[in-house]
Each structure stands twice: as structure tokens, then as C-alpha cells.
């Protein structure tokens, strides 16, 4: 009964969640490990056939640098390095002298794939929690504004405008100055989440408020009230669900926005410090002019963002569609 798109989305989403949670297990190498002489190494795909056409267990030819400045690497075909499964506490890894760089290496010779997985924990974590916070705050404030109307509504919407228009960067810089110099990754995570959530609530709030304000005047709402239902119940059971569609779209808009906002924050000095990777920081590193044409694999996190958002969207539309059919059928 569930559409195939929703099913695909669910599969994708669960993959993302599992892979993110199990990042340390799945990543072939430590994300902070800087492999000497492999800066900007290109992606390495595992092989099963060697040069003479014989079948082997999956292996790779290690890369050796030919010219550092020109980013030229050569495969060392004389010593194939086999992929080792379920050793060293990892799903798959290789031995010391032949790192398997599935998505290549970054400017410091670190495994982009491992960084991407670890970065997913930070970025997706911050973005999802911040988006949830923004949606909840926005829904609450928007509902109150739309429901109560009048001066309260005006005041809340003006506050929303102010938060929307104020350049958050300035706030962040001042905030950073008041915080201690060294921040742990957890401190950064939660502060960032709160900042983004508080900066983001006006987006959903405006839409929710518009929806609630109009739904409130509809006949069914009045009818429910006439039958004796309390306003809170009406709000939660009838009015708010009308905004569900809007909220889900907002969520998928906020997620990539927050991922990038997280990078912008580190640009102005409020971010995850080395060696903690995050997708936003990785994209910013890729943004340095000139590197991109040489090392396009540095954009891998963008693919991660696209996939996460796509799956989220497919699932959310599927869920909304399912609940709509249910509503129609009742």
C-alpha cells in the first residue's frame, strides 16, 4: 500500500541513520589520520580482477605520489593490498601502507569518506535537532499568533520579522567573544543547535500562523467549538494538522540551510575545531578557489546532503499522503 517512492525514501533514510550512527565502525580509517604524501589523492575503487585476469578477494593497488604539486599519483601495481573485514574494530580497513581512500583524500591527506561519515554525525545532528527546534518553536509561536490574533499576533510577528532580518553573524561574533576560548565538541554542538534553532523559527512561524488564522475561521472549527471542544484540543487535533504539509516542506528547506549555516558559523570563528570534521567545514575547504577542478571529490558531502534531504522528503510526503488518504476515508 505504501508508494514505492516512500519505501525507497525509508530505505535511504534508515541507511543514512545507521551509517551515521555507526560511523566509527564503518569508516575504514580514523578521520583525523593524515596519510603522508597523499594530499588530494583521487578516489580508489576496490578491484577483484588483477592484471592477469585472476579473481581475488577485493583489493586495492596503493597510490604513490608522482608529483605533489601537480596532484599526480600512480598505482603501485606490484603490491596489491587486500581489504580486511571485521578487524581493528572496523567493518573494512586495510593495512598501514595502503590506505583505502574510497572518496580520495583532502588537503591534508585525510580520508574523505571517513571524514564524511564522522561529519555526518556533527552536521546532520546539528541540522536535524536545530530544524526540529525551529519547527517546534515556529509552530508553537505561529499557532499562538494565528489563533489568538489581534495585538498578540502583531507583537509576535514583529518579533519574528526582527529575528529574520537581524544578521545572525553579528550576534554570533559577539557571542563567541563572551564564551571561553576553548570549546569542546559537545559545547559547540549544542550552542550551534540553539543558535540555529532560534534563528530559524520565523520561517515556519509565518506560514503556520497564516494557515492557523484561516483555518480557525472555518466552519468545522466553529462547529467543533459549538459541540463543546476546548480550543486547545481544536488547535492540536484539527488546525495544526492543516499546517503539516507546510511544515514538512519547511523542514526540507531548513535542513540544507542549516548545514551550510553551520559552515558559515565556523567561517566567523564559531565552529567545530580541528580535527572534528563537519560537512559544512568540508564544503568550505573545497570552496577554496582552484582546488575544485583538481579534486572534485571534495564535494562528496554535497552528495550526502542531497541524499539525506531527498530521503527525508520522500518519507515525509509519503507519510503526509498516507494520513491524507486516511483523513479522506474517515
Amino acid at each position: 500500500m505504501i508508494a514505492w517512492t516512500t519505501r525507497a525514501g525509508l530505505v535511504g533514510l534508515s541507511t543514512v541513520v545507521i551509517v551515521t550512527a555507526a560511523a566509527r565502525f564503518i569508516a575504514p580509517h580514523d578521520p583525523a589520520r593524515q596519510f603522508p604524501d597523499l594530499a588530494f589523492a583521487p578516489p580508489m575503487l576496490p578491484r577483484v580482477l588483477d592484471d592477469s585476469g585472476q579473481l581475488h578477494r577485493p583489493f586495492i593497488y596503493p597510490l604513490r605520489v608522482v608529483d605533489r604539486l601537480e596532484h599526480r599519483f600512480g598505482q603501485d601495481r606490484s603490491r596489491p593490498v587486500p581489504l580486511e573485514w571485521f578487524t581493528q574494530g572496523r567493518l573494512v580497513t586495510t593495512s598501514e601502507d595502503g590506505p583505502w581512500l574510497l572518496l580520495g583524500a583532502d588537503a591534508l591527506g585525510r580520508d574523505v569518506f571517513a571524514r564524511m561519515l564522522r561529519g555526518a554525525q556533527m552536521s546532520l545532528g546539528v541540522s536535524v535537532v536545530a530544524a526540529a527546534l525551529a519547527l517546534i518553536l515556529g509552530a508553537v509561536i505561529g499557532s499562538v499568533a494565528g489563533f489568538v490574533g489581534g495585538k498578540c499576533d502583531a507583537a509576535l510577528m514583529r518579533v519574528a520579522d526582527f529575528v529574520l532580518v537581524l544578521p545572525i553573524i553579528y550576534v554570533v561574533i559577539v557571542l563567541r567573544a563572551t564564551m571561553p576560548l576553548v570549546l569542546s565538541a559537545t559545547e559547540v554542538f549544542w550552542t550551534m543547535t540553539v543558535i540555529l534553532g532560534v534563528a530559524g523559527w520565523p520561517f515556519p512561524a509565518r506560514g503556520v500562523r497564516a494557515v492557523i488564522a484561516l483555518e480557525r475561521k472555518k466552519e468545522y472549527a466553529e462547529a467543533a467549538h459549538a459541540m463543546g471542544a476546548g480550543w486547545l484540543r481544536i488547535l492540536l487535533r484539527h488546525l495544526l494538522p492543516a499546517a503539516r504539509g507546510f511544515l514538512t516542506v519547511q523542514g526540507t528547506l531548513l535542513l540544507p540551510m542549516f548545514i551550510l549555516a553551520e559552515a558559515t558559523l565556523s567561517y566567523v570563528g564559531f565552529g567545530f575545531a580541528e580535527p572534528t570534521p563537519s560537512w559544512g567545514v568540508m564544503l568550505h575547504e573545497a570552496a577554496e578557489a582552484g582546488i575544485l577542478s583538481e579534486a572534485p571529490w571534495l564535494l562528496a558531502p554535497a552528495a550526502g546532503i542531497v541524499m539525506s534531504v531527498l530521503c527525508l522528503h520522500l518519507v515525509s510526503t509519503g507519510v503526509t499522503a498516507a494520513s491524507e488518504t486516511r483523513a479522506v476515508n474517515t
Binding site: 502583531a154 514583529r158 551550510l260 559552515a263 554535497a302
Partner: protein, 319 residues
Amino acid sequence: MRNGFRRYFFRRVGFALLLIFAVSSASLLLARLAPSDDVFAADRVILAAERHRLGLDKPLFEQYMDWLGRSLRFDFGESLRFRRPVAALIRERAGRTALLGFSALALATLVGIPLGVLTGSRPGGVLTSAVRLASIAVLSLPSLVTSLVLLLIAARTGWFPAGGLPSVSADAGTLESILTVGRYLFLPTLALALPMAAALERLQSRAIRESLTEPCIVAAFARGVPRQRVVWRHAFRLALKTVLAIYGIMIGTALSGSFVVEIVMAWRGLGDLMYQALQSRDLYLVAGCAAAGSCGLAFGILLSDLALAAVDPRVEDVV
């Protein structure tokens, strides 16, 4: 209704002005609180003298009152970094940002809205799924990535200049000037417009789909009104409200400058100026940029609220 609308209009304009004032004041205060020092500047003494001349070293309250008074006379002070009046700098940059913003908006609207109506009115089908997938993909790409990829294409193919402002020589004809500007404008516009178009498409699609379930629409079908007219004349009107709410914000964001696109594409507009002002803690410029940016956003919000009120008269008594 006319009278009510006019009252609504004036009230909203008043609030918009208040908003601009509040945001610029807050920015001035924040920029003042942000730590900075020109410890490595060899001309510290001259800088200190300049600061004094511009009134930047006065106590907070006095400086704020002074700035407020001058702003009301449209004198926004002088930029410490550029040594030019803030108003002139902003006028120059805001023009460029506006050009970019409006082009992007136009492109996004032309592409996004019709596509959204299309996909919203035909839930199944290959075209709809394809457009939907494309929209999500574009939406989830941060504008940083989009700008970079476009820049990469420009650098590799040489079809378009790799960022920068158009340099029109003084003796070029009108058509040639327009074409030169167009060539430089195209990529930044695309970078800005793609995510907007995708967002509009998604929102419009959902809004149409929802409005198609409204009783009045179902009734129109039952009456035998041709499908296209139902979709475009009636459902579209109904769907407008959610889209308009966001459209205004989009206008506002476009006008106030996307600093990512401007920096990557070296389109030196308002967003870029705000970033530079921030870097050098150039107080008056920061306040001026915040004011200009908030002008754009406030205008956008105002527009969307007014449009909402015009479309649906029930909204106007919700202030």
C-alpha cells in the same frame, strides 16, 4: 474593505520602518561589542585620529544618539575602511545586489511557479516525478556548492567570465553594454535562482495539490468547468496564500544580498559589503548595511503581507 486595507497598509509600513530602525540599532550595538583591534596596523595613530574624527570612540550612548540624529537627516556617517560616506557606498552596492536579486527572482518565478502548478495538478506521471526529484536535489544543494560548480564550469569552458563585475568600456554601445552585463550576470543569477526556483516549485506544487481538495474546487469540477481553467484560475488563487508568505521573504532575501553567492562569484554587492564591514568592525558601515539589508527584507515581508491581504480579505484584520 478599501478603508480597512488602507489602514492595514499604513500600519504595516509603520512597522516596517520601526523594524529597520530596530535592526540597525541592534547591529550598531553588536558591532561595537564585537572584539577587534588593529594591533598590527602600522598607522594606528592615524587610525585613532580617524576614529576620533568620525566619532567612533565616543561612549556608547552618546555615539548612538549622535548616529540616530544624523540618520534621520540621512547622513549615515563615513566608512572607516573605505573613507567614503556610507550612503554612497551602500547605494552603489545595493544597486548591484538589486540587479542580481531581481534577475534571479524573475528567472526563479518563470521557471518555478509554472512547474509547480504542473506537478501539483498531476500527482502521478514521469514528468512530475522527474521535476520533483530535480527540485529536491537542487534545493538540498547549498548555494555554496552551486556557485562553485558554476564557477568551475565557467573557468573550464571559458563561455562565461569566472565571476566579477562587468567592466563596460566607456565607448561601448548600449546593446554591447547590455550584453556584457548579461554575460557577467548570468552565472550569479543562475546560482541564486536555482534553489529559489526549486523551493517555489515545491511549495507551489503542494499548495496546488491541497487546494484541489477544497470543496469549492471540487464543486467547480462538478459544474463542468474545464480542468485547465479550474487549476489555473481557481486553485491557483487559493494556493497563492502559502506561496506568497514565502515569496515575500524570498524577495527580501534576494534584495538584501546572498553573501555566499556574491563572495564566490565576486559580485561585489551588498552582501559582500556587509561581510567586509563586519571583518573590519567598521561600525557605521555595519549599521548602514544592516539598515539596507533590513530595508530589503522588510520590503519583501511587507509586500507578501499586503499581497496576502489583497488576495484574501479575511487576512487583513489579522494584523
